[in-house]
Protein backbone atom coordinates (compact mmCIF):
# COMPACT_ATOMS: atom_id res chain seq x y z
CA UNK A 1 0.00 0.00 0.00
CA UNK A 2 1.26 3.41 -0.98
CA UNK A 3 1.09 6.07 1.70
CA UNK A 4 2.24 9.60 1.14
CA UNK A 5 2.38 12.51 3.54
CA UNK A 6 1.70 16.17 2.93
CA UNK A 7 4.28 17.93 5.09
CA UNK A 8 2.55 21.27 4.54
CA UNK A 9 -0.74 20.04 5.90
CA UNK A 10 -1.88 21.11 9.34
CA UNK A 11 -3.28 17.62 9.79
CA UNK A 12 -1.19 15.57 12.20
CA UNK A 13 1.02 12.97 10.55
CA UNK A 14 -0.62 10.05 12.29
CA UNK A 15 -4.05 11.20 11.11
CA UNK A 16 -2.82 11.49 7.56
CA UNK A 17 -1.73 7.86 7.77
CA UNK A 18 -5.06 6.82 9.26
CA UNK A 19 -6.96 8.53 6.47
CA UNK A 20 -4.69 7.16 3.78
CA UNK A 21 -5.35 3.61 4.97
CA UNK A 22 -9.09 4.14 5.28
CA UNK A 23 -9.20 5.76 1.85
CA UNK A 24 -7.28 2.87 0.27
CA UNK A 25 -9.81 0.44 1.74
CA UNK A 26 -12.72 2.59 0.62
CA UNK A 27 -11.36 2.92 -2.91
CA UNK A 28 -10.75 -0.81 -3.07
CA UNK A 29 -7.03 -0.24 -3.53
CA UNK A 30 -6.42 -2.35 -0.46
CA UNK A 31 -8.45 -5.29 0.79
CA UNK A 32 -9.23 -6.96 4.12
CA UNK A 33 -6.62 -9.50 5.08
CA UNK A 34 -3.83 -7.51 3.51
CA UNK A 35 -0.77 -6.86 5.63
CA UNK A 36 0.23 -3.27 6.27
CA UNK A 37 3.90 -2.33 6.23
CA UNK A 38 5.57 -2.96 9.58
CA UNK A 39 5.87 -0.08 11.98
CA UNK A 40 9.61 0.23 11.46
CA UNK A 41 9.36 -0.13 7.71
CA UNK A 42 6.72 2.55 7.26
CA UNK A 43 8.54 4.84 9.66
CA UNK A 44 11.68 4.46 7.58
CA UNK A 45 9.86 4.99 4.28
CA UNK A 46 8.09 8.11 5.48
CA UNK A 47 11.14 9.34 7.39
CA UNK A 48 9.17 9.72 10.60
CA UNK A 49 9.42 8.32 14.08
CA UNK A 50 8.16 4.75 14.60
CA UNK A 51 6.02 5.91 17.49
CA UNK A 52 4.06 8.10 15.12
CA UNK A 53 3.24 5.06 13.00
CA UNK A 54 2.30 3.15 16.13
CA UNK A 55 -0.15 5.90 16.96
CA UNK A 56 -1.74 5.70 13.54
CA UNK A 57 -2.06 1.92 13.77
CA UNK A 58 -3.55 2.20 17.25
CA UNK A 59 -6.15 4.60 15.93
CA UNK A 60 -6.94 2.30 13.03
CA UNK A 61 -7.35 -0.60 15.44
CA UNK A 62 -9.74 1.45 17.58
CA UNK A 63 -11.74 2.20 14.44
CA UNK A 64 -11.99 -1.49 13.64
CA UNK A 65 -10.00 -1.13 10.43
CA UNK A 66 -6.96 -3.23 11.34
CA UNK A 67 -5.84 -5.82 13.85
CA UNK A 68 -2.34 -5.73 15.20
CA UNK A 69 -0.84 -9.05 16.13
CA UNK A 70 2.28 -9.07 18.19
CA UNK A 71 5.10 -10.72 16.38
CA UNK A 72 3.36 -10.98 13.05
CA UNK A 73 2.21 -7.55 11.98
CA UNK A 74 -0.75 -5.29 11.29
CA UNK A 75 -3.57 -6.54 9.05
CA UNK A 76 -6.57 -4.96 7.39
CA UNK A 77 -9.80 -6.40 8.73
CA UNK A 78 -13.42 -6.36 7.63
CA UNK A 79 -14.95 -5.97 11.04
CA UNK A 80 -16.21 -2.47 10.36
CA UNK A 81 -17.54 -0.16 13.01
CA UNK A 82 -18.95 -1.82 16.10
CA UNK A 83 -20.89 1.22 17.21
CA UNK A 84 -24.62 1.05 17.62
CA UNK A 85 -26.75 2.10 14.65
CA UNK A 86 -27.95 5.20 16.47
CA UNK A 87 -24.38 6.32 17.12
CA UNK A 88 -23.38 5.72 13.55
CA UNK A 89 -26.41 7.57 12.18
CA UNK A 90 -25.59 10.52 14.38
CA UNK A 91 -22.00 10.54 13.21
CA UNK A 92 -23.13 10.42 9.58
CA UNK A 93 -25.49 13.34 10.05
CA UNK A 94 -22.80 15.32 11.82
CA UNK A 95 -20.34 14.58 9.07
CA UNK A 96 -22.65 15.73 6.32
CA UNK A 97 -23.98 18.74 8.15
CA UNK A 98 -20.39 19.92 8.46
CA UNK A 99 -19.68 19.23 4.82
CA UNK A 100 -22.84 21.04 3.66
CA UNK A 101 -22.11 24.04 5.85
CA UNK A 102 -18.51 24.27 4.73
CA UNK A 103 -19.55 23.94 1.09
CA UNK A 104 -22.01 26.79 1.55
CA UNK A 105 -19.28 29.00 2.96
CA UNK A 106 -17.05 28.11 0.05
CA UNK A 107 -19.76 29.68 -2.11
CA UNK A 108 -21.11 26.56 -3.77
CA UNK A 109 -24.72 25.71 -4.59
CA UNK A 110 -26.63 22.63 -3.47
CA UNK A 111 -26.36 21.32 -7.01
CA UNK A 112 -22.59 21.79 -6.97
CA UNK A 113 -22.42 19.77 -3.77
CA UNK A 114 -24.62 16.99 -5.14
CA UNK A 115 -22.48 16.70 -8.25
CA UNK A 116 -19.21 16.70 -6.33
CA UNK A 117 -20.60 14.20 -3.86
CA UNK A 118 -21.62 11.82 -6.64
CA UNK A 119 -18.07 11.99 -7.87
CA UNK A 120 -16.72 11.13 -4.42
CA UNK A 121 -19.24 8.35 -3.96
CA UNK A 122 -18.19 6.85 -7.27
CA UNK A 123 -14.65 6.50 -6.00
CA UNK A 124 -15.75 4.47 -3.01
CA UNK A 125 -16.51 0.77 -3.31
CA UNK A 126 -19.74 0.71 -1.36
CA UNK A 127 -20.61 -2.73 -2.69
CA UNK A 128 -19.54 -4.44 0.51
CA UNK A 129 -21.87 -2.25 2.54
CA UNK A 130 -24.76 -2.63 0.11
CA UNK A 131 -25.27 -6.21 1.24
CA UNK A 132 -25.98 -5.52 4.88
CA UNK A 133 -28.90 -3.13 4.60
CA UNK A 134 -29.02 -0.48 7.30
Amino acid sequence: MLIRLDPRSAEPIFEQIVFAVKAALARGTASPGEKLPSVRELARDLAINPNTVVRAYEQLERDGVVVRRQGSGCFLTDRGSELGLAQRRRQLQDLLRRAATDAFHLGFTAEDVRAAMEQSLDQVQFDKNEKETQ
Copy 2:
Protein backbone atom coordinates in the same frame (compact mmCIF):
# COMPACT_ATOMS: atom_id res chain seq x y z
CA MET B 1 -27.80 34.60 17.62
CA LEU B 2 -28.02 31.53 19.83
CA ILE B 3 -24.77 29.69 20.37
CA ARG B 4 -24.60 26.55 22.45
CA LEU B 5 -21.57 24.50 23.37
CA ASP B 6 -21.33 20.77 23.74
CA PRO B 7 -19.18 20.25 26.82
CA ARG B 8 -18.86 16.54 26.02
CA SER B 9 -17.32 17.19 22.65
CA ALA B 10 -13.61 16.91 22.09
CA GLU B 11 -13.84 19.78 19.59
CA PRO B 12 -12.10 22.89 20.89
CA ILE B 13 -14.51 25.49 22.20
CA PHE B 14 -13.38 28.18 19.79
CA GLU B 15 -14.03 25.85 16.86
CA GLN B 16 -17.48 25.06 18.18
CA ILE B 17 -18.21 28.79 18.16
CA VAL B 18 -16.82 29.22 14.66
CA PHE B 19 -18.96 26.39 13.39
CA ALA B 20 -22.06 27.62 15.21
CA VAL B 21 -21.76 31.02 13.53
CA LYS B 22 -21.15 29.52 10.10
CA ALA B 23 -24.04 27.14 10.58
CA ALA B 24 -26.39 29.94 11.61
CA LEU B 25 -25.50 31.84 8.46
CA ALA B 26 -25.89 28.72 6.34
CA ARG B 27 -29.28 27.88 7.85
CA GLY B 28 -30.46 31.43 7.42
CA THR B 29 -30.90 31.84 11.17
CA ALA B 30 -28.52 34.78 11.00
CA SER B 31 -28.05 37.23 8.15
CA PRO B 32 -25.21 39.32 6.73
CA GLY B 33 -24.92 42.67 8.47
CA GLU B 34 -26.08 41.25 11.77
CA LYS B 35 -23.98 42.13 14.80
CA LEU B 36 -22.48 39.32 16.83
CA PRO B 37 -22.52 39.53 20.62
CA SER B 38 -19.53 41.33 22.09
CA VAL B 39 -16.60 39.26 23.25
CA ARG B 40 -17.35 39.91 26.90
CA GLU B 41 -21.04 39.24 26.52
CA LEU B 42 -20.60 35.93 24.75
CA ALA B 43 -17.86 34.87 27.15
CA ARG B 44 -20.17 35.54 30.05
CA ASP B 45 -23.14 33.76 28.46
CA LEU B 46 -21.13 30.67 27.66
CA ALA B 47 -19.13 30.84 30.88
CA ILE B 48 -15.85 30.59 29.06
CA ASN B 49 -12.62 32.54 28.83
CA PRO B 50 -12.93 35.77 26.77
CA ASN B 51 -9.68 34.87 25.01
CA THR B 52 -11.46 31.85 23.60
CA VAL B 53 -14.16 34.06 22.08
CA VAL B 54 -11.51 36.36 20.67
CA ARG B 55 -9.84 33.41 19.05
CA ALA B 56 -13.12 32.29 17.49
CA TYR B 57 -13.83 35.77 16.10
CA GLU B 58 -10.30 35.97 14.68
CA GLN B 59 -10.82 32.67 12.94
CA LEU B 60 -14.16 33.83 11.55
CA GLU B 61 -12.51 36.98 10.24
CA ARG B 62 -9.78 34.91 8.57
CA ASP B 63 -12.53 32.81 6.99
CA GLY B 64 -14.21 35.96 5.64
CA VAL B 65 -17.39 35.32 7.61
CA VAL B 66 -17.26 38.42 9.80
CA VAL B 67 -15.63 41.85 9.88
CA ARG B 68 -14.50 43.27 13.17
CA ARG B 69 -14.71 47.03 13.43
CA GLN B 70 -12.73 48.73 16.16
CA GLY B 71 -15.02 49.93 18.89
CA SER B 72 -18.29 48.98 17.24
CA GLY B 73 -18.17 45.20 17.23
CA CYS B 74 -18.16 42.14 15.03
CA PHE B 75 -20.52 41.90 12.03
CA LEU B 76 -21.53 39.09 9.72
CA THR B 77 -20.47 39.71 6.14
CA ASP B 78 -21.59 38.28 2.83
CA ARG B 79 -18.26 38.44 1.16
CA GLY B 80 -17.88 34.70 1.22
CA SER B 81 -14.62 33.00 0.51
CA GLU B 82 -11.96 35.01 -1.24
CA LEU B 83 -10.15 31.97 -2.54
CA GLY B 84 -9.84 31.28 -6.23
CA LEU B 85 -12.35 28.93 -7.82
CA ALA B 86 -9.76 26.22 -8.40
CA GLN B 87 -8.69 26.19 -4.79
CA ARG B 88 -12.27 26.19 -3.57
CA ARG B 89 -13.15 23.27 -5.83
CA ARG B 90 -10.20 21.39 -4.44
CA GLN B 91 -11.36 22.06 -0.90
CA LEU B 92 -14.87 20.93 -1.77
CA GLN B 93 -13.60 17.69 -3.28
CA ASP B 94 -11.39 17.08 -0.27
CA LEU B 95 -14.29 17.70 2.06
CA LEU B 96 -16.58 15.28 0.31
CA ARG B 97 -13.96 12.63 -0.24
CA ARG B 98 -13.42 12.62 3.51
CA ALA B 99 -17.14 12.44 4.16
CA ALA B 100 -17.64 9.59 1.68
CA THR B 101 -14.71 7.64 3.10
CA ASP B 102 -15.88 8.07 6.68
CA ALA B 103 -19.43 7.10 5.74
CA PHE B 104 -18.09 3.95 4.12
CA HIS B 105 -16.22 3.00 7.26
CA LEU B 106 -19.34 3.61 9.33
CA GLY B 107 -20.92 0.86 7.27
CA PHE B 108 -23.36 2.93 5.23
CA THR B 109 -24.34 2.54 1.58
CA ALA B 110 -24.07 5.19 -1.12
CA GLU B 111 -27.85 5.53 -0.99
CA ASP B 112 -27.75 6.12 2.76
CA VAL B 113 -25.23 8.88 2.19
CA ARG B 114 -27.26 10.51 -0.57
CA ALA B 115 -30.37 10.55 1.57
CA ALA B 116 -28.59 11.96 4.60
CA MET B 117 -26.86 14.52 2.41
CA GLU B 118 -30.17 15.73 0.98
CA GLN B 119 -31.39 16.23 4.50
CA SER B 120 -28.33 18.31 5.33
CA LEU B 121 -28.59 20.31 2.13
CA ASP B 122 -32.22 21.08 2.93
CA GLN B 123 -31.17 22.75 6.15
CA VAL B 124 -28.80 25.09 4.36
CA GLN B 125 -30.13 28.18 2.59
CA PHE B 126 -28.21 27.89 -0.63
CA ASP B 127 -30.43 30.48 -2.36
CA LYS B 128 -27.91 33.23 -1.93
CA ASN B 129 -25.28 31.12 -3.62
CA GLU B 130 -27.58 30.00 -6.42
CA LYS B 131 -27.43 33.49 -7.94
CA GLU B 132 -23.72 33.66 -8.53
CA THR B 133 -23.34 30.54 -10.63
CA GLN B 134 -20.05 28.78 -10.20
Copy 3:
Protein backbone atom coordinates in the same frame (compact mmCIF):
# COMPACT_ATOMS: atom_id res chain seq x y z
CA MET C 1 -9.44 10.37 43.08
CA LEU C 2 -6.88 8.04 44.62
CA ILE C 3 -4.91 5.92 42.18
CA ARG C 4 -2.27 3.47 43.29
CA LEU C 5 0.00 1.25 41.26
CA ASP C 6 1.20 -2.25 41.96
CA PRO C 7 4.78 -2.25 40.71
CA ARG C 8 4.98 -6.05 41.02
CA SER C 9 2.03 -6.59 38.73
CA ALA C 10 2.58 -7.81 35.20
CA GLU C 11 -0.25 -5.53 34.12
CA PRO C 12 1.04 -2.51 32.20
CA ILE C 13 1.02 0.70 34.19
CA PHE C 14 -1.36 2.47 31.84
CA GLU C 15 -3.86 -0.38 32.15
CA GLN C 16 -3.65 -0.26 35.91
CA ILE C 17 -4.60 3.39 35.72
CA VAL C 18 -7.45 2.67 33.33
CA PHE C 19 -8.84 0.01 35.61
CA ALA C 20 -8.43 2.15 38.71
CA VAL C 21 -10.50 4.90 37.14
CA LYS C 22 -13.19 2.53 35.87
CA ALA C 23 -13.33 0.83 39.26
CA ALA C 24 -13.71 4.16 41.06
CA LEU C 25 -16.64 5.02 38.80
CA ALA C 26 -18.18 1.59 39.25
CA ARG C 27 -17.85 1.75 43.04
CA GLY C 28 -19.34 5.22 43.06
CA THR C 29 -16.16 6.65 44.57
CA ALA C 30 -15.94 9.01 41.60
CA SER C 31 -18.79 10.54 39.63
CA PRO C 32 -19.40 11.80 36.10
CA GLY C 33 -18.36 15.40 35.68
CA GLU C 34 -15.48 15.03 38.09
CA LYS C 35 -12.09 16.23 36.94
CA LEU C 36 -9.24 13.76 36.88
CA PRO C 37 -5.78 14.86 37.95
CA SER C 38 -3.87 16.52 35.15
CA VAL C 39 -1.47 14.44 33.14
CA ARG C 40 1.57 16.07 34.65
CA GLU C 41 0.18 15.96 38.16
CA LEU C 42 -0.70 12.27 38.08
CA ALA C 43 2.63 11.47 36.45
CA ARG C 44 4.41 13.26 39.26
CA ASP C 45 2.33 11.60 41.98
CA LEU C 46 2.86 8.12 40.59
CA ALA C 47 6.48 8.82 39.68
CA ILE C 48 5.95 7.73 36.09
CA ASN C 49 6.37 9.32 32.69
CA PRO C 50 3.60 11.74 31.59
CA ASN C 51 3.25 9.86 28.32
CA THR C 52 2.18 6.79 30.25
CA VAL C 53 -0.63 8.77 31.84
CA VAL C 54 -1.56 10.15 28.43
CA ARG C 55 -1.88 6.61 27.18
CA ALA C 56 -4.19 5.67 30.02
CA TYR C 57 -6.36 8.74 29.44
CA GLU C 58 -6.50 8.00 25.71
CA GLN C 59 -7.70 4.51 26.46
CA LEU C 60 -10.32 5.83 28.86
CA GLU C 61 -11.53 8.27 26.23
CA ARG C 62 -11.83 5.47 23.67
CA ASP C 63 -13.89 3.53 26.22
CA GLY C 64 -16.23 6.48 26.64
CA VAL C 65 -15.29 6.95 30.27
CA VAL C 66 -13.67 10.39 30.06
CA VAL C 67 -13.45 13.39 27.76
CA ARG C 68 -10.20 15.24 27.43
CA ARG C 69 -10.45 18.92 26.69
CA GLN C 70 -7.38 20.70 25.55
CA GLY C 71 -6.45 23.43 27.92
CA SER C 72 -8.90 22.47 30.63
CA GLY C 73 -8.33 18.88 31.59
CA CYS C 74 -9.74 15.37 31.64
CA PHE C 75 -13.27 14.80 32.94
CA LEU C 76 -15.32 11.75 33.84
CA THR C 77 -18.33 11.41 31.57
CA ASP C 78 -21.56 9.42 31.69
CA ARG C 79 -21.70 8.55 28.03
CA GLY C 80 -21.04 4.88 28.62
CA SER C 81 -20.20 2.42 25.90
CA GLU C 82 -21.38 3.34 22.42
CA LEU C 83 -21.05 -0.16 21.06
CA GLY C 84 -24.06 -1.90 19.63
CA LEU C 85 -26.04 -4.13 21.97
CA ALA C 86 -24.93 -7.26 20.14
CA GLN C 87 -21.29 -6.30 20.57
CA ARG C 88 -21.74 -5.57 24.22
CA ARG C 89 -23.60 -8.82 24.85
CA ARG C 90 -20.81 -10.71 23.17
CA GLN C 91 -18.21 -8.98 25.28
CA LEU C 92 -20.15 -9.74 28.44
CA GLN C 93 -20.43 -13.42 27.57
CA ASP C 94 -16.74 -13.56 26.75
CA LEU C 95 -15.85 -11.88 30.00
CA LEU C 96 -17.88 -14.28 32.11
CA ARG C 97 -16.89 -17.38 30.22
CA ARG C 98 -13.29 -16.50 30.97
CA ALA C 99 -14.05 -15.84 34.60
CA ALA C 100 -15.97 -19.09 35.00
CA THR C 101 -13.24 -21.10 33.32
CA ASP C 102 -10.51 -19.52 35.39
CA ALA C 103 -12.49 -20.07 38.58
CA PHE C 104 -12.88 -23.73 37.69
CA HIS C 105 -9.15 -24.09 37.23
CA LEU C 106 -8.57 -22.42 40.57
CA GLY C 107 -10.55 -25.30 42.02
CA PHE C 108 -13.71 -23.49 43.01
CA THR C 109 -17.28 -24.71 42.77
CA ALA C 110 -20.14 -23.00 40.95
CA GLU C 111 -21.55 -22.04 44.34
CA ASP C 112 -18.21 -20.47 45.34
CA VAL C 113 -18.29 -18.41 42.17
CA ARG C 114 -21.87 -17.29 42.67
CA ALA C 115 -21.14 -16.18 46.22
CA ALA C 116 -17.96 -14.33 45.26
CA MET C 117 -19.73 -12.73 42.31
CA GLU C 118 -22.53 -11.44 44.54
CA GLN C 119 -19.90 -9.85 46.72
CA SER C 120 -18.33 -8.14 43.69
CA LEU C 121 -21.69 -7.03 42.33
CA ASP C 122 -22.50 -5.49 45.71
CA GLN C 123 -19.49 -3.25 45.41
CA VAL C 124 -20.63 -1.85 42.08
CA GLN C 125 -23.26 0.88 41.90
CA PHE C 126 -25.40 -0.60 39.16
CA ASP C 127 -28.26 1.79 39.98
CA LYS C 128 -27.43 4.03 37.05
CA ASN C 129 -27.64 1.12 34.65
CA GLU C 130 -30.82 -0.28 36.19
CA LYS C 131 -32.82 2.57 34.68
CA GLU C 132 -32.07 1.89 31.06
CA THR C 133 -33.22 -1.70 30.76
CA GLN C 134 -31.20 -3.76 28.32
Copy 4:
Protein backbone atom coordinates in the same frame (compact mmCIF):
# COMPACT_ATOMS: atom_id res chain seq x y z
CA MET D 1 -9.23 -32.08 21.28
CA LEU D 2 -10.43 -29.42 18.89
CA ILE D 3 -8.57 -26.13 19.10
CA ARG D 4 -9.49 -23.21 16.92
CA LEU D 5 -7.83 -19.83 16.70
CA ASP D 6 -9.48 -16.49 16.12
CA PRO D 7 -7.18 -14.70 13.71
CA ARG D 8 -9.06 -11.43 14.29
CA SER D 9 -8.37 -11.44 18.00
CA ALA D 10 -5.63 -9.33 19.50
CA GLU D 11 -5.02 -12.10 22.04
CA PRO D 12 -1.64 -13.77 21.50
CA ILE D 13 -1.90 -17.12 19.79
CA PHE D 14 -0.25 -19.02 22.62
CA GLU D 15 -2.77 -17.60 25.08
CA GLN D 16 -5.63 -18.61 22.82
CA ILE D 17 -4.29 -22.16 22.93
CA VAL D 18 -3.89 -22.09 26.69
CA PHE D 19 -7.45 -20.89 27.12
CA ALA D 20 -8.84 -23.37 24.62
CA VAL D 21 -7.28 -26.27 26.57
CA LYS D 22 -8.49 -24.94 29.91
CA ALA D 23 -11.95 -24.35 28.50
CA ALA D 24 -12.12 -27.88 27.07
CA LEU D 25 -11.26 -29.29 30.48
CA ALA D 26 -13.75 -27.00 32.17
CA ARG D 27 -16.54 -27.91 29.75
CA GLY D 28 -15.78 -31.59 30.12
CA THR D 29 -14.93 -31.87 26.43
CA ALA D 30 -11.52 -33.15 27.46
CA SER D 31 -10.65 -35.22 30.52
CA PRO D 32 -7.65 -35.64 32.81
CA GLY D 33 -5.21 -38.22 31.46
CA GLU D 34 -5.99 -37.35 27.87
CA LYS D 35 -3.01 -36.76 25.61
CA LEU D 36 -2.69 -33.44 23.87
CA PRO D 37 -1.59 -33.36 20.22
CA SER D 38 2.17 -33.22 19.77
CA VAL D 39 3.81 -29.88 19.29
CA ARG D 40 4.52 -30.53 15.64
CA GLU D 41 1.08 -31.89 14.94
CA LEU D 42 -0.75 -28.98 16.51
CA ALA D 43 1.57 -26.47 14.88
CA ARG D 44 0.84 -28.04 11.50
CA ASP D 45 -2.93 -28.17 12.08
CA LEU D 46 -3.12 -24.55 13.16
CA ALA D 47 -0.53 -23.41 10.61
CA ILE D 48 1.52 -21.67 13.24
CA ASN D 49 5.08 -21.66 14.48
CA PRO D 50 5.95 -24.74 16.64
CA ASN D 51 7.63 -22.42 19.13
CA THR D 52 4.25 -20.87 19.77
CA VAL D 53 2.79 -24.27 20.67
CA VAL D 54 5.76 -24.97 22.92
CA ARG D 55 5.15 -21.71 24.71
CA ALA D 56 1.48 -22.58 25.22
CA TYR D 57 2.31 -26.00 26.64
CA GLU D 58 4.90 -24.48 28.96
CA GLN D 59 2.30 -22.07 30.25
CA LEU D 60 -0.19 -24.90 30.76
CA GLU D 61 2.42 -26.82 32.71
CA ARG D 62 3.11 -23.78 34.89
CA ASP D 63 -0.63 -23.53 35.50
CA GLY D 64 -0.76 -27.17 36.58
CA VAL D 65 -3.11 -28.13 33.78
CA VAL D 66 -0.82 -30.55 31.95
CA VAL D 67 2.28 -32.61 32.59
CA ARG D 68 4.85 -32.99 29.85
CA ARG D 69 6.68 -36.28 29.85
CA GLN D 70 9.90 -36.52 27.89
CA GLY D 71 9.39 -38.50 24.74
CA SER D 72 5.79 -39.50 25.36
CA GLY D 73 3.94 -36.20 25.12
CA CYS D 74 1.78 -33.77 26.98
CA PHE D 75 -1.06 -35.01 29.21
CA LEU D 76 -3.96 -33.32 30.91
CA THR D 77 -3.76 -33.60 34.67
CA ASP D 78 -6.30 -33.23 37.44
CA ARG D 79 -3.94 -31.76 39.96
CA GLY D 80 -5.54 -28.37 39.71
CA SER D 81 -3.98 -25.29 41.18
CA GLU D 82 -1.24 -25.76 43.74
CA LEU D 83 -1.68 -22.33 45.25
CA GLY D 84 -2.78 -21.87 48.82
CA LEU D 85 -6.45 -21.30 49.47
CA ALA D 86 -5.91 -17.70 50.53
CA GLN D 87 -4.08 -16.83 47.34
CA ARG D 88 -6.66 -18.59 45.21
CA ARG D 89 -9.49 -16.75 46.92
CA ARG D 90 -7.71 -13.49 46.26
CA GLN D 91 -7.35 -14.38 42.60
CA LEU D 92 -11.02 -15.30 42.38
CA GLN D 93 -12.08 -12.02 43.93
CA ASP D 94 -9.80 -10.11 41.59
CA LEU D 95 -11.19 -11.94 38.61
CA LEU D 96 -14.78 -11.23 39.48
CA ARG D 97 -14.19 -7.66 40.53
CA ARG D 98 -12.76 -7.05 37.06
CA ALA D 99 -15.68 -8.78 35.42
CA ALA D 100 -18.24 -6.83 37.44
CA THR D 101 -16.52 -3.53 36.72
CA ASP D 102 -16.28 -4.21 33.02
CA ALA D 103 -19.90 -5.31 32.88
CA PHE D 104 -20.90 -2.07 34.57
CA HIS D 105 -19.04 -0.05 31.99
CA LEU D 106 -20.71 -2.01 29.21
CA GLY D 107 -23.97 -0.65 30.56
CA PHE D 108 -25.42 -3.85 32.00
CA THR D 109 -27.38 -4.31 35.21
CA ALA D 110 -26.50 -6.63 38.08
CA GLU D 111 -29.34 -8.89 36.99
CA ASP D 112 -27.96 -9.04 33.44
CA VAL D 113 -24.63 -10.13 34.87
CA ARG D 114 -26.17 -12.77 37.11
CA ALA D 115 -28.09 -14.25 34.21
CA ALA D 116 -25.10 -14.28 31.89
CA MET D 117 -22.94 -15.76 34.63
CA GLU D 118 -25.40 -18.60 35.21
CA GLN D 119 -25.19 -19.39 31.54
CA SER D 120 -21.41 -19.50 31.71
CA LEU D 121 -21.43 -21.60 34.88
CA ASP D 122 -23.77 -24.07 33.19
CA GLN D 123 -21.20 -24.69 30.51
CA VAL D 124 -18.54 -25.60 33.04
CA GLN D 125 -18.46 -29.04 34.63
CA PHE D 126 -17.93 -28.05 38.23
CA ASP D 127 -18.93 -31.51 39.52
CA LYS D 128 -15.36 -32.57 40.01
CA ASN D 129 -14.73 -29.55 42.18
CA GLU D 130 -17.93 -29.98 44.17
CA LYS D 131 -16.42 -32.98 45.97
CA GLU D 132 -13.49 -31.24 47.54
CA THR D 133 -15.35 -28.51 49.39
CA GLN D 134 -13.45 -25.29 49.79
